[in-house]
Symmetry: D3
Subunit: 334 residues, 6 copies
Amino acid sequence: MTRPITLFTGQWADLSFEEVARLASGWGYDGLEIACWGDHLDPWQAAEDPGYLASRKEILDRYGLQVFAISNHLKGQAVCDDPIDARHRGMLPDRIWGDGEAEGVRQRAAEEMKLTARAARGLGVDVVVGFTGSSIWKYVAMFPPVSQDLVDAGYQDFADRWNPILDVFDAEGVRFAHEVHPSEIAYDYWTTVAALDAIGHRPAFGLNWDPSHFVWQDLDPVGFLWDFKDRIYHVDCKDAKRQVGNGRNGRMGSHLAWADPRRGWDFVSTGHGDVPWEACFRMLNTIGYDGPISVEWEDAGMDRLVGAPEALQFVRSKLFDKPTAAFDAAFASG
Amino acid sequence: MTRPITLFTGQWADLSFEEVARLASGWGYDGLEIACWGDHLDPWQAAEDPGYLASRKEILDRYGLQVFAISNHLKGQAVCDDPIDARHRGMLPDRIWGDGEAEGVRQRAAEEMKLTARAARGLGVDVVVGFTGSSIWKYVAMFPPVSQDLVDAGYQDFADRWNPILDVFDAEGVRFAHEVHPSEIAYDYWTTVAALDAIGHRPAFGLNWDPSHFVWQDLDPVGFLWDFKDRIYHVDCKDAKRQVGNGRNGRMGSHLAWADPRRGWDFVSTGHGDVPWEACFRMLNTIGYDGPISVEWEDAGMDRLVGAPEALQFVRSKLFDKPTAAFDAAFASG
Amino acid sequence: MTRPITLFTGQWADLSFEEVARLASGWGYDGLEIACWGDHLDPWQAAEDPGYLASRKEILDRYGLQVFAISNHLKGQAVCDDPIDARHRGMLPDRIWGDGEAEGVRQRAAEEMKLTARAARGLGVDVVVGFTGSSIWKYVAMFPPVSQDLVDAGYQDFADRWNPILDVFDAEGVRFAHEVHPSEIAYDYWTTVAALDAIGHRPAFGLNWDPSHFVWQDLDPVGFLWDFKDRIYHVDCKDAKRQVGNGRNGRMGSHLAWADPRRGWDFVSTGHGDVPWEACFRMLNTIGYDGPISVEWEDAGMDRLVGAPEALQFVRSKLFDKPTAAFDAAFASG
Amino acid sequence: MTRPITLFTGQWADLSFEEVARLASGWGYDGLEIACWGDHLDPWQAAEDPGYLASRKEILDRYGLQVFAISNHLKGQAVCDDPIDARHRGMLPDRIWGDGEAEGVRQRAAEEMKLTARAARGLGVDVVVGFTGSSIWKYVAMFPPVSQDLVDAGYQDFADRWNPILDVFDAEGVRFAHEVHPSEIAYDYWTTVAALDAIGHRPAFGLNWDPSHFVWQDLDPVGFLWDFKDRIYHVDCKDAKRQVGNGRNGRMGSHLAWADPRRGWDFVSTGHGDVPWEACFRMLNTIGYDGPISVEWEDAGMDRLVGAPEALQFVRSKLFDKPTAAFDAAFASG
Amino acid sequence: MTRPITLFTGQWADLSFEEVARLASGWGYDGLEIACWGDHLDPWQAAEDPGYLASRKEILDRYGLQVFAISNHLKGQAVCDDPIDARHRGMLPDRIWGDGEAEGVRQRAAEEMKLTARAARGLGVDVVVGFTGSSIWKYVAMFPPVSQDLVDAGYQDFADRWNPILDVFDAEGVRFAHEVHPSEIAYDYWTTVAALDAIGHRPAFGLNWDPSHFVWQDLDPVGFLWDFKDRIYHVDCKDAKRQVGNGRNGRMGSHLAWADPRRGWDFVSTGHGDVPWEACFRMLNTIGYDGPISVEWEDAGMDRLVGAPEALQFVRSKLFDKPTAAFDAAFASG
Amino acid sequence: MTRPITLFTGQWADLSFEEVARLASGWGYDGLEIACWGDHLDPWQAAEDPGYLASRKEILDRYGLQVFAISNHLKGQAVCDDPIDARHRGMLPDRIWGDGEAEGVRQRAAEEMKLTARAARGLGVDVVVGFTGSSIWKYVAMFPPVSQDLVDAGYQDFADRWNPILDVFDAEGVRFAHEVHPSEIAYDYWTTVAALDAIGHRPAFGLNWDPSHFVWQDLDPVGFLWDFKDRIYHVDCKDAKRQVGNGRNGRMGSHLAWADPRRGWDFVSTGHGDVPWEACFRMLNTIGYDGPISVEWEDAGMDRLVGAPEALQFVRSKLFDKPTAAFDAAFASG
């Protein structure tokens, strides 16, 4: 028995939820990781309209799809970010943006994250995937000089803003799976350690393991699973390809758009990049992860209608089971 | 004859200018790249006090030191930066910080950069080294999504703010040498291309080549010299060591302090890192750079009183001259 | 819609043109890159026999094949080569070899190249693929010492011999696509730069991009496409495998025959070597190349009847289209 | 025509011989490399029961399977080992173990190896695959200091114990194929040279080439085939994956069990590891090896019922034939 | 002030203690790490002869040398080893070897280790460096199959034999520093973890960090210091050079003698190998190690009278102090 | 005692022999490897003028210099080369060039090589270093297709032309040491094997080991010494630096001049390149080479008056002796 493979709907939110369900089902996906944007899932409507979640489930049932997690990266991002600017305006609905005053945006985003936990519970799902934002990401270059106090304050700000949200998660019996990612409070190995410390390692806060940002930062996605084995609450499959090596393309991407060949790395369809997928899936077996494997499809150089079904086949081919006995057990048969 | 080797005084500004001159002279440096902070050089005083620059020169003369360039990274940084925050407060004098209102800070910083050109001229120096700052560095992760318009606006902001400054440089016959560096408008190869495009390739704007930030971004410092050979206005020797490879230390540094062994890279004394110095110096010979070689000494794991003289000896040992004829010319002697 | 994939017939010239057409069609190729040797295509006959080209087209039509380019490497090679020797005798027809006097061979070869342009035009094709030869390839070791004058004379010889040929190309509205290759005037990146300089960058002269010789010379075939994007007139897919690493096999091949395991590199069927095909095809998308992708099949360790259809499937699997919008466009659907 | 692909039954000895034959046949294997343990093949019974070997052959025939080699690693191991301990008890049948007194165990194991040659002959097979054991493997760390005399004595012990066995092999017209492997007298390149020297290069003693232990020792399995081309008597396909690189996993395996992710390397299903299979199979073509290719399936992280048929397909896809003529022969068709 | 640098006398035990003291002092060493063999230091004599230790100290004083640790690798090795054989006979004195019966040897060796703690105390030294031996090192290949029980029993045997020894160490206020090394209970990262677990992490048992065996096992000696920072009781400087890469030399050494160029790695004089010494010394600064740096000189390709003084100079050149403030503190001087 | 270090005078032939002797002596060289061009050594004059060689020796004596080998690369080159062209004209004296007719040039060059053996004998020297030339180097690209017959003919031509020369060497008791080098009959590992085969492994023909051309061809200079240990007649120290890695610089050098940074590799002063000198010198110790170590100084980016004495110091620092006993011998002192 292989584990369920889901499609994350976030990059398909220009299509209706039903259309995405129809496509995913047709390609053979087992379920959806539903994004809380587009018309896919609206936590406010879930809170306000008693029949709303049932209507979502009905669509899933119609296409034979399951749901194991829902996602709300875009609103989670706004909880801690500083500054709040045109980038956020571009991805936030009016209800959250309001007048754009930064602290108001942050608080409304926090409110939506609480509602997202409740929507998850309403859907019978116990994991919400997302981002945290960060007030200190902008200090990443460490110049102008950044004092330890400034860094510490950033982790504290994260804890202060997320603890009340996580209290709601606890109340609902839902866990938050943060995706380790540039722009976030935890964007690599040691910032993950620091973020978990900041939040007191409370069980409500864990990780969405997405290896795409590991490979270009020279982080080992396999060892990460081992070291944080009790915090792996969800798995997203996104891939990335390093494009450095000519001396001109840099690790930081040069402010260039996706698919520009001068970037030092780029997102590519799962299986087309540098993530050692087989070793990752073997490690997931080893640590006993038994949740869904979700394809988060991003590749600015490939037609998504070709890529998404191909990624499903790729992932499925690597999800072999562990054996029931070691091979050398047979040597004792003499 | 080898080229003059200078010591950049910026990391010694806790000491008096005379004390730095005394140390550098004692170690054998040929001159100083004088920083416009501490009591080393004050462009405002230079503008206001007719005898000020002569007093600086007198100190140099007393210790047998020359000057080829002066530097003003800290104020240049504030010209374009957004946001202006506690980090800037920590490194700006009251005269620039004022009430801390961002736009006022930026304009006062720009004013000081103009004065810096005049101080350079007054000292008989035709290069000012420094930073530009950047309003778009904070977008480096490209998430939340950054439109091309936002990126373009950042380069335009840079041009709008620096062109008036560079007009003063032109008037004074001085050139600005920007140090390619994270946090700046040009922080790698392709952003250097874009920044030069933004400023219309005007000769007043060139580069201070400092390879330390190249090695951890996987950029080739040697090829950079070749490709931008007509823009290399100054050379700073700072070194960096990659500390990735264990799967846990990341390229972005994890918000950790200098000398923390968990950082993915760190500054080290010249000759102790990954910069291929000999190849760099050979390329400087090839492109005909004949300015000073300046040691910008940064190493949070080494006593600077040991490191600075060692760096001088290291650099001097690599500055051999080109031959007057190729070795195979002698084969025609048959 | 994927681009047409053709089979280059040069390595199949021991078979009749019709037999090659039958095989290629049966395997699913979209067309042929027809070689001007064997009985495949004879430029002299095309010039002399009014019905000849129609007979070629009839065969293509019979097998549902298209033609986008014709090739004449073997005669192009003889245009500049010096010395002309037994190797040329082995690959040139009597009509070109004549009495074997070198200058006569070169001039007859040049004449055939002009006829090849006319044959292309007659077939409705606007690209001729081929080699240039080189009078200075033999100097590659730079010992005995080679003066700059000798090198310059080689590029000039190339220009002098090819400009009159290219005049005919211009007259016919056909372009020549030179394959960058050892033995030729342009065999790597910088010799390509020099050759284009020598010919004044006239549009009639461009490149047939074949990455097989790039990988063992440590050249980047992807970056080459970017840097020469306006000169990529045709694409040949040939692959090569480095076999160095044991300290005994050398980059230069040791005068050993193909498939000898002691060679430092060898040709292998497309997809079996070190060419990063996916990155190459992505870059072809980026630069907007819309011509044919032609399989030039060479592998001395593999049965060609197995390899040629496999190579077709390999190439087709990598030729996915670009998307119509970037994946993060969907994040604005909130 | 591709070469026969067999399945080694050693890791399937918990199943009955017939069950293994049924499985292998169903997956498409051409034959079996039969292990002399479990109920698969018993050399003593073959010697004592005239109808025994016919009964084995009958099972093979029933499932359309061939046999080219039989294997007896477990008893061969005991011939030279010192000490003989609990590990041997775990893999030896009572008949060999007896009272466990070391020298008695070794002699009974040697006796079985002679019988194995006779059983091979009886089955019409001329290769026995196996291990030799080693009295000096335990000295591998070379500390406490190991004198050259001690090492020499180990090779002599090997020769003394195996020469009488090989005499029987010669008498039966059967050859022994030793698998180069840690724990054995020959475990890498130079110990293979020394072992062949010790045994006087007698033709009865050759090698079972199994590349899995080469890759983690940094040995080149391709070059090994070339250098020992006249001693390659059998081929086993087992794969291994290096898992070093995080600075913590070591080459020696840390006494950790198979599939533990902290090991520095592990066995994996053929095609999932670091063995360069295509280069290996090309080299087997070059040296003229025409025996069976046998899959020795070991992967403690994969269900063998999934892995064994997949390995067969993998191997078959790489076993393409050599061409009848080189590709550039067609260039002489002009 | 740099830390004291000592010379380990173990490889000089063919010379008298006084002669070694004379040499080391002449080269500029600060002290000796005294070996308990040759005539250098005899724990039995120390226990039996009240004036013995004073006589040792007198020699040290005469040559101006200090002592911070004593070493007893050879007897420690015999505590757990199995089998006990000719190798041990070669390095053990008659008093320990006795009749050579294994268990007796082990117990007499254990007794000497207790006496070594007392001798250390008598010399005013609180660290004894050495080896533990191991009953399971011989299982390193994991074939014949090794059950988890067998491995566990090996660690238990280590604990059972060393706990009584360590009780004496505790009583004397001395700590044991085990050198991680093939042949020992802890020979790499994960076996160090397991050994510390087996011994209950009692403070009496720590580590002698010697990086020479790390580099050829692909272990990171720098990260090891960080992870075991509270167990680094002593530092030995020995270097090793990897000699793999030609496909023939293997990691396991092929039972070849030191300095044989066919070995996959070899010991070399400190600074001549692959140990990243500067990064190691920086990390020692970071973790606050303030003990001696001891040169354990082993290089079978170099005259030790040349090598030992050169190693001292090499080590001293790398032992620079940390700064008192970070370089960017000076940026706040504006 | 370290081995003698000599300076090869070939690249100094624009200076008088006495001037070179004066310089070399002043820098501390032990002797000269005298080139047979410039006014350094003329084999014809040696044959014709009875007092000539004594005059050379007198100069050596005056400066306290020894001679162990003489060199005649330039004339050796002309023995087999085809074509003979302007490059040869540039490096041959009129006496050899004559009317420039190729076969005459070759024969006169062969004659000079015989005289060179006699001059060596006259100087009391038993090694002549040099080149062979090659009639097949120009086929290195293997296109146009090169038949095995053509390659074989090249080796035969070499044997036919050099055997008579070597007969004279045998008569004089002198050996020829061929420098493995592009443009020569033996330019890498396998061509060295073939050349030795062609000449029947006659002892008169051996090798001048110069590792500079090994590193950029990916050949292992250390293993070469081991494999050809009985043919290492002389050692030249020249270094080379790979400059590939940016995807544009190629292994073949692009017909670019020395010191051009776009070349894929370049000659550099000994110790400044990629040759692993220490491993090489250790291997020379291992194989028992006891001849001179000669510095052949070539670096088009460095002043030779700086480089030549620096190279001497570098080489001397690496020429440490082997020990008289292994380090672990001392462990038996217990």
